[in-house]
């Protein structure tokens, strides 16, 4: 009998073998192959220097800015994306808007890099469409308010262009799962709309919202092309440093680059662990 159970266990694991083989071959091994470079000098000596170098103030500050931009854009994206997802699921809008926005989100969630940066420069840059229109028509000088597209804030709202759609895409199914009866039950018990959202809807959606926000965080944390194209010479964030070390024609210390990559993986891993822990708390009420 025990062989029977064992056989079933083996079969269970065999079922995810294709995925695991794929992940090992095309994700994990290639990464390890290089990222272990974090522990070597260019001529192949084992060292902790690269990892120790991460403690350099400019690198620490790069991590810190990266984390801040990622947190800001993931939370901003999550909040606005949430409202949009709400609008197309529970807001009583015509159904063509829903499918239109969903496919649009598919495209926009990957509209990044040079074209995106350029789009924002062409819109909100010093000579951008909106900036110029505001100035010429309303006599309003956007930049005299302290606004600057090439800044932390600018980068955050630019990132949100792909963060929001990602949120919409992933959260829509969760909102679809909200039962009408929950709202009615809370209404008939005297709850206001706000009480319903605070006490019922948000707690129920919380695990999905958190999970998606984590995804957005990682998404922003690893995004390089947009940041580079937007604030090329000015922004000190990890992916740019990393690329400068691996690809630049000046700095060029790939091993330090791999240490930077390792740091990013560790941070993502940590945020994932945090998420799993938070979720297990938030999901006490689930099977």
């Amino acid at each position: 009998m025990s062989t029977l159970i064992d056989r079933r266990k083996v079969v269970d694991w065999l079922g995810i073998a294709p995925f695991m083989i794929f992940a090992v071959m095309f994700l994990i091994l290639p990464t390890l192959y290089l990222v272990t470079g974090a522990f070597f000098t260019p001529d192949g000596q084992f060292t902790f220097k690269n990892v120790a170098d991460l403690a350099h103030p400019s690198i620490l500050s790069a991590y810190w800015i990266s984390i801040k931009v990622s947190v800001a854009s993931s939370i901003g994206g999550a909040v606005i994306g949430f409202f949009l997802a709400w609008a197309i699921t529970l807001g009583g809008l015509p159904s063509w808007i829903r499918s239109g926005l969903l496919t649009f989100s598919g495209v926009a969630s990957n509209f990044a890099g040079v074209p995106l940066a350029f789009a924002f420069i062409a819109t909100l840059g010093r000579t951008g469409l909106v900036t110029v229109l505001l100035r010429d028509i309303f006599g309003f000088n956007l930049y005299s308010t302290g606004f600057n597209l090439l800044s932390f804030f600018g980068l955050t709202i630019t990132y949100m262009f792909f963060q929001i759609p990602l949120m919409v895409l992933i959260l829509t199914p969760a909102l679809d799962g909200m039962k009408k009866e929950w709202r009615e039950a809370s209404e008939i018990l005297g709850a206001s709309n706000w009480q319903y959202w605070r006490m019922v809807a948000l707690p129920i959606l919380w695990p999905s919202v958190m999970g998606t926000t984590l995804l957005l965080f990682a998404n922003a944390f690893g995004a390089i092309a947009t940041a580079y194209a937007l604030t090329g010479a000015s922004l000190n964030i990890v992916p740019i440093l990393l690329y400068a070390q691996i690809r630049g024609d000046v700095l060029h210390n790939p091993n330090l680059g791999y240490a930077l990559a390792l740091g990013m993986i560790v941070i993502t891993g940590a945020s994932n662990v945090l998420y799993i822990w938070l979720r297990s708390r938030a999901e006490r009420w689930q099977k």
Binding site: E184, A185, A191, W285
Partner: protein, 353 residues
């Protein structure tokens, strides 16, 4: 004293009118059931009382106060849904406390009331459980407690038992009735299970296609159905086609057996066909059974239903079912056997339309 009044209520969804000129008054503390087939408008009326739908016409008052401009959360009504609709993120105690918290009641009062409610539904020991950890019947009891906790003026129940299985349904409906009587709360109960409606209601509204076909006590509904629809919807009914033999003498025949009816036949003539209704429990084939009328036929099936054995016999072209109580000594009639069913002529109702 009329407490909940529905006057000339209409409701249309687009071009379709699903509730048609509905009138009813319900007394304080009364337990009224809405009984009717699927789609007849029961839920719609309930939802209008709750305020989830606005009537297309007519008015609803509770305790003399028009509800027209009140939102659901201003009506102080309790509601229990078919699919429980417990908040999955809250445990039992929090679910029950919800309406009180929302009303800003002090913590001590909430705690006491929740305790009282859990006692009422006998689930004190499960206060910490989450909905997914409970059976359907337990969940439905919690839903009831949740609806009752804020002391609503009216309790609405929309097929609260239909997702449960038979055994639990019976015990829970008795519990609901008991609690309702204990609290004296005016209750509207929607169901399409006739036994359920009959067993717990003060009055029943039998609905048919957006209208009330009959409003009355269970006894009236069951024994004096106002329409053919009510007669056939409530209870199991034999519908028998009979031939008029003699209008003056109230004589008809079923197969070749003549019967004298109590009810006057009315405007028909000899040779016409009339529809008669007979409930399966109205007659008996026991020796010495009382009854001024008899029909003899051949048994074609005999079905054991537990406490009751239902036998079908053929009389001419008509098939007539009759029930007898089961007992250890009882031998159900065998298929092919000839039996004589005795009943009172007044049990035979003439169905007109």
């Amino acid at each position: 004293m009329s407490f909940l009044t529905l006057s000339n209520i209409q409701k249309s969804f687009g071009p379709v009118q699903v509730v048609k000129d509905f009138n009813m008054t319900i007394d304080k503390g009364e337990f009224v059931s809405f009984l009717g087939p699927s789609g007849c408008g029961k839920t719609t009326i309930l939802r209008m009382i709750a305020g989830f739908e606005a009537p297309s016409g007519g008015s609803i008052t509770i305790g003399g106060k028009s509800q027209t401009n009140l939102k659901p959360n201003q009506r102080n009504i309790g509601m229990v849904f078919q699919a429980y609709a417990l908040f999955p993120n809250m445990n039992v105690a929090d679910n029950v406390a919800f309406g009180l918290k929302v009303a800003g009641k002090p913590a001590a009062e909430i705690e006491a009331r929740v305790k009282e409610m859990l006692g009422l539904i006998k689930l004190d020991h499960l206060a910490e459980r989450y909905p997914y950890q409970m059976s359907g019947g337990q969940q439905q009891r919690v839903a009831l407690a949740r609806a009752l906790a804020p002391k609503p003026q009216v309790l609405l129940l929309d097929e609260p038992l239909s997702a449960l299985d038979a055994k639990i349904r019976v015990s829970l409906r008795e519990e609901i009735r008991m609690i309702q009587q204990q609290l004296g709360i005016t209750t509207v109960f929607v169901t399409h299970d006739q036994e359920e409606a009959l067993s717990i209601s003060d009055r029943i509204v039998v609905m048919n296609a957006g209208r009330a076909d009959q409003i009355g006590t269970p006894f009236e509904i069951y024994n004096k159905p106002a329409t053919r629809f009510v007669a056939s919807f409530v209870g199991t009914l034999n519908l028998i086609e009979a031939k008029v033999v003699d209008t003056a003498a109230n004589r008809i025949s079923i197969g070749d057996q003549g019967i004298t009816l109590r009810e006057p036949l009315g405007a028909v003539k000899a040779g016409d066909t009339v529809s008669l209704a007979l409930r399966p429990e109205a007659g008996s084939i026991a020796e010495g059974a009382k009854g001024d009328t008899a029909l003899t036929g051949t048994v074609i099936a005999s079905n054991f239903l537990g406490s009751v054995i239902r036998t079908r016999m053929k009389v001419g072209d008509a098939v007539i079912s009759f029930d007898m109580f089961n007992g250890p000594g009882l031998v159900p009639p065998a298929v092919g056997e000839t039996v004589t069913l005795r009943f009172t002529a007044s049990d035979l109702l003439i169905i007109r339309e």
